[in-house]
């Protein structure tokens, strides 16, 4: 008699379940583009091999009376051709299905994950192992010892609980932070105060079937990094400044809402020595108000960088996450049945969303195992989005910026691309067809191809 293992959802995952909607199913995709068309059989073998090493990915999501929980399952993943739009819903409350899928289309291997299971870093480990296992089968290079920490792949590891649970005792989280000092200046109004100024929010026409509108820009990551360095800012902050500027240019006048704000996820594994493949990140909110001081790109980026440094210090993040965990563990809240909790979280999420213009996520430069690396070109990721968002990822010299949005309009992407080309970068655009008109054009072309 074996009982399936189970574990409660971590702190960050609960909000994903509550915030899930038709337009934003809280699914993200990570992909690797190979130098040949993907062989389905080999990919299935590779996925089978890696799946066995990742107990976490066997989990299905179930609903308890007070909380959701993950439970082990006997299901096996089947590789499928890409027949759904990117980041299509994965979790359905009444079905017990896996919380990820592996898709392929031409040269791309895509891994899609329901965000309550894992974050980008955890998912990247899985994709990296799948790509390596696939290429090992195809080219026969030897298996190198895996860099993925084996302990973190289990179902039970929850780094939020590990580092932030007990406020009274000196937790491992605090011990790790002893050497760190907060350099935030409490007198500086720009770092702490939540803005009361009205935040600009992008509006637009929703896609006809709630699919995620996706445009990918591919460019030279090293060249953009060089430009950022020349301006004395980090690449991520330059990208945010460019994003703010492109939204402003596409808006046709901000009106009274002159503040742009962005939500940036910060990987907590860089501060806390966690090897968990589950969610382990916090988000930081940054903003810039136009018309108050210098509005050129470099100044915006530098201002953002200053605020980011204060908010993303390990001590600032720790107190923030600790607050969430304390909230989650409040005795009164614990006995509230799950549907009410979900309602409450949905409300909090809605209020949060009102204060955000855009969101970005940068997974940085990815390295693959040596034998696999030369066969892989672009890598990148997409997320489902309730607001314009972009995700950045580099492999080799190629940086892929994926813009996703619930709206059909791509004006801000146009401005972004034009700013990049004006900076002398070569930009390649790949877009998904989302409107009825665009799809009609594609089907006409398809008919011509078969000679109808």
């Amino acid at each position: 008699m074996t009982r399936p293992a189970w574990v409660r959802l971590d702190n960050a995952s609960n909000i994903f379940l509550a915030a899930r909607s038709d337009a934003d199913p809280k699914v993200f995709r990570i992909f690797a583009e190979l130098n040949h068309e993907v062989d389905r059989g080999l990919l299935q073998d590779a996925v089978d091999e890696v799946y066995d090493q990742y107990p976490l990915y066997h989990a299905v999501l179930r609903r308890g009376v007070f909380w959701h929980y993950l439970q082990d399952s006997d299901l096996r993943p089947a590789v499928i051709g890409e027949e759904l739009h990117t980041c299509a819903p994965l979790y359905q409350p009444h079905r017990r299905n896996l919380l990820f899928r592996v898709l392929y289309h031409r040269r791309r291997i895509n891994l899609e994950i329901f965000h309550a299971l894992s974050d980008g870093t955890g998912a990247l480990w899985f994709l990296r192992d799948v790509v390596d296992a696939y290429l090992r089968r195809r080219h026969g290079h030897a298996r190198l010892e895996t860099t993925t920490p084996p302990t973190g792949l289990s179902l039970t590891m929850d780094s939020f609980a590990e580092y932030f649970r007990h406020p009274a005792e000196g937790t491992s989280g605090e011990r790790w932070l002893e050497s760190d000092h907060e350099d935030e200046n409490p007198g500086d109004p720009t770092t702490n105060r939540r803005s009361t100024r009205s935040v600009y929010r992008v509006r637009g026409t929703r896609t006809p079937d709630h699919r995620t509108r996706l445009v990918e820009l591919t460019l030279s990551g090293s060249e953009l990094a060089r430009q950022a360095k020349a301006e004395g800012v980090s690449l991520t902050m330059l990208l945010i400044a460019l994003f703010f500027e492109s939204v402003r240019l596409a808006s046709g006048g901000l009106g009274r809402a002159r503040t742009m704000s962005v939500s940036v996820p910060v990987n907590l594994r860089q501060f806390f020595p966690s090897t968990s493949a589950r969610n382990f990140f916090a988000t930081v909110r940054l903003e810039h108000t136009y018309g108050e001081g210098a509005d050129d790109l470099a100044s915006i980026a530098r201002g953002l960088e200053r605020r980011f440094a204060a908010k993303a210090s390990s001590s600032a993040l720790e107190s923030r996450v600790r607050r969430f965990v304390r909230f989650e563990r409040m005795p009164l809240l614990r006995i509230v049945p799950r549907p009410f909790k979900d309602g409450l979280l949905r409300l909090i999420n809605w209020a949060n969303n009102r204060g955000l213009t855009v969101a970005i996520s940068n997974l940085g430069r990815v390295t693959l195992p040596e034998g696999a690396d030369p066969h892989v070109g672009r890598m990148g990721f997409h997320v489902s989005a309730v607001r314009p968002q972009f995700c950045a990822m580099s492999h080799g010299d190629q940086m892929t910026l994926s813009f996703t949005s619930p709206f059909l309009e791509t004006d801000h992407v146009r401005e972004f691309a034009q700013m990049l080309t004006q900076r002398g970068l070569d930009v390649s655009v790949a877009a998904v067809r989302a409107s009825e008109g665009e799809l009609a054009e594609a089907s006409l072309d398809g008919l011509r191809e078969v000679g109808a």
């Binding site: 189970w6 038709d22 289309h105 445009v215 190629q398 655009v429 877009a431 594609a442």
Partner: protein, 227 residues
């Protein structure tokens, strides 16, 4: 790599475009040059049947509940209403059971628990509307509970359901079977036999469950009631 193999060019954005676009997906200018294949398939639009069903589902549920409420306002023994009330209560019951069955179709044991609860409540309500003769509490509820217990036992055997999936619902049907005993002790029934049989049956089931699967029941309970 494909990114270097540039596709069509947009003269206005000065970007290259992958895929067979005739106009720039960003600025709608006409593109020049030779097309290369897109990294994405053109996925046809899907109009979610699920969303349509959800709207229908909620509407039917609201209508059924409203009709039950409306019937409360008619005189209890209104002779003119007569057969109409039975027809209408029957229709409302039918739809409520259908809605519940669709909602709980993924777990038969769970569905049975809901079925027993809903039909028992409806029949009691029906009894109350038609003059409170006590037939629902005396016969319907005990017979339903006892039958459900046996039905769940047969179903999980036949379908080889995983123990964890049905154990709590098997237990729940047995616990519901104890409710007619309460009616009996409060003197709400005019014929004690059905309630007594049902009560004994559920006591036996509960004892057997505890003996055979006690650990499993505690495991499932701790999982689902975890705070």
């Amino acid at each position: 790599m494909s990114a270097e193999a540039s596709g069509r060019a947009c003269p206005r954005c000065e970007v290259s475009v992958e895929g067979d676009w005739s106009t720039c997906p960003l600025c709608q200018s006409a593109l020049t040059g030779r097309a290369i294949t897109s990294p994405f398939p053109a996925v046809p639009l899907t109009f979610s049947r699920r969303r349509v069903f959800r709207v229908l589902f909620l509407m039917s549920l609201a209508l059924v509940l409203a009709s039950l409420l409306v019937q409360l306002f008619f005189e209890r023994d209104d002779a003119d209403l007569g057969a109409w009330r039975f027809v209408w209560l029957g229709v409302a019951t039918m739809w409520l059971v259908v809605i519940m069955a669709i909602q709980k179709r993924h777990n038969l044991a769970k569905g049975t628990v809901y079925l027993v609860a809903i039909v028992s409540l409806l029949c009691t309500y029906w009894d109350y509307l038609t003059g409170w003769n006590g037939w629902a509490l005396t016969y319907v509820v005990p017979i339903l509970c006892a039958s459900a217990m046996i039905a769940v036992l047969i179903t999980v055997r036949l379908m080889r359901m995983a123990v964890g999936d049905h154990i709590l619902y098997s237990g729940l049907t047995a616990v519901m079977g104890l409710v007619p005993i309460v009616f009996l002790t409060l003197g709400w029934v005019y014929e004690p036999l059905p309630a007594a049989i049902c009560g004994v049956l559920s006591l036996i089931t509960l004892i057997l469950l505890q003996l055979a699967r006690g650990g499993q029941v505690r495991h499932e309970l701790s999982k689902r009631l975890h705070m």
